[in-house]
Symmetry: C2
Subunit: 253 residues, 2 copies
């Protein structure tokens, strides 16, 4: 069987340790091309660059072709598929993100927006995140799970219209209990804005917040992670709330 | 009954004509506060500002309190709810966007990300878009539909976890056939990158693309708009593809 062509990207940027981990694992599974942002893009959601130009630079990286771009994670996938690669990738993986993209974080996630963009282009895609925000996070426990989930996705195929959101708990490898397929937990961030004054006397704000889980279900990604399981949420970009079409049809419209 | 407090925002920025149209309609229905980006933010998806500071400035606007921010549309909602407003809004409306946010465009849409952010904070929310990208678009045909849909949303309530994505066809008022509650059509953008060389001899790209509809359904937003109906898609931020959990559970995980 021909080795699959695997596009690797992320949102923490081309220099992130989590990207290097993902590249190392993917090199075992296929031919790898890396197209990643030249600077960190966390919190970029599904932003694309339409009012500005994009730069692409080839980057030296051992054993793989690699490119950095001035764009967002979604831009990276668009550039890779339509401009950089000479054939369609068989798989796109994004990450390993430094920090959780479980529950509502998927909405704000550059990591998952890259995977979503690949999905929209009909390329099977997986986003991987480790629940540790630090730059020197320890990815050792992630390796076997990233490899196993990716291998199974290559073997079985990911259903059309679906992208996998994988989160790995921040515990030692021997403490991980296994893998759970989950739904996205109901949660949000309670923001507080840290109001400060600059040296010119002008006010400005920093966004801060506390994560608030509003879901006691044992079938959620947050439950899985809190109980030391790797969570796999099949996510979709058809945002239609099909169940409420009937209700809204009862309005006087 | 007390007049509802309505938060108005957008992604085309505080100076956009579509914002002024939306404000004028909302002033008939409630007390209005405007919090909008100080510059256009189209294509920002659900980006939030976590690595930079935010500025907020009060702006003079007749009959309403108005603020511009240096943030994204999602930032505007967070700032409004947590810092600027002295009570929770009863409704958040975003738009009227200059250009379609139907089908897959919802994913890239700053307009809808603001509405989604309000929804995540449990505030009923609607995004409005007119299918005309020009700055001097004619919003006359939009007025009655925006007013009617908003009034019905206030009267009936929007189901929890659901945000409305309303798109208005770019035709004369007398040509509009009515309102259709729809699902999001399957579509994507086929990108082409316009490769150019700057005065220093360096290459750069502009993102361009062609919209590609891959859905023949007559229950979609794209069908409604092509047939001169106003489309209303109930959208959700629970991205779980519940229907594929069983399939992925059959993998060797």
């Amino acid at each position: 069987m021909k080795r699959p062509l695997i596009l690797v990207t992320n949102d923490d940027g081309i220099t992130a340790p989590g990207l290097q981990e993902l590249i190392a694992i993917m090199k075992e599974l296929g031919d790898v091309v890396v197209v990643a942002p030249d600077s960190p893009q966390s919190g970029m959601g599904h932003a694309i660059t339409i009012n500005s130009i994009l730069h692409v630079h080839e980057v030296k990286m051992e054993g793989v072709k690699a490119y950095s771009t001035s764009g967002t994670p979604a831009d990276c996938v668009k550039l890779a598929v339509n401009e950089i690669l000479d054939r369609r990738p068989d798989l796109c993986v994004s990450g390993i993100n430094h920090g959780s993209n479980a529950s509502i974080n998927i909405i704000y996630s550059g990591t998952m927006s890259a995977a979503m963009e690949a999905g929209i282009e009909d390329i099977p895609a997986i986003g991987f995140s480790l629940c540790d925000y630090s730059w020197d996070a320890d990815f050792v426990a992630s390796r076997n799970y990233v490899r196993q989930i990716t291998s199974e996705a290559i073997k079985n195929g990911i259903p059309k219209g679906v992208v996998l959101n994988v989160n790995i708990p921040n515990v030692k490898e021997e403490e991980i209990e296994g893998i759970r397929v989950c739904r996205q937990a109901k949660a949000n961030w309670k923001e507080t804005f840290d109001k400060r004054t600059n040296p010119l006397g002008q006010e400005y704000y920093w966004l801060t917040g506390n994560f608030t889980l509003m879901d006691q279900g044992e079938d959620t990604d947050e439950w899985a992670l809190a109980n030391n399981f790797v969570s796999v949420v099949p996510a979709q970009y058809d945002l239609t709330a099909h169940h409420s079409i009937q209700h809204i049809n009862s309005w006087d419209l």
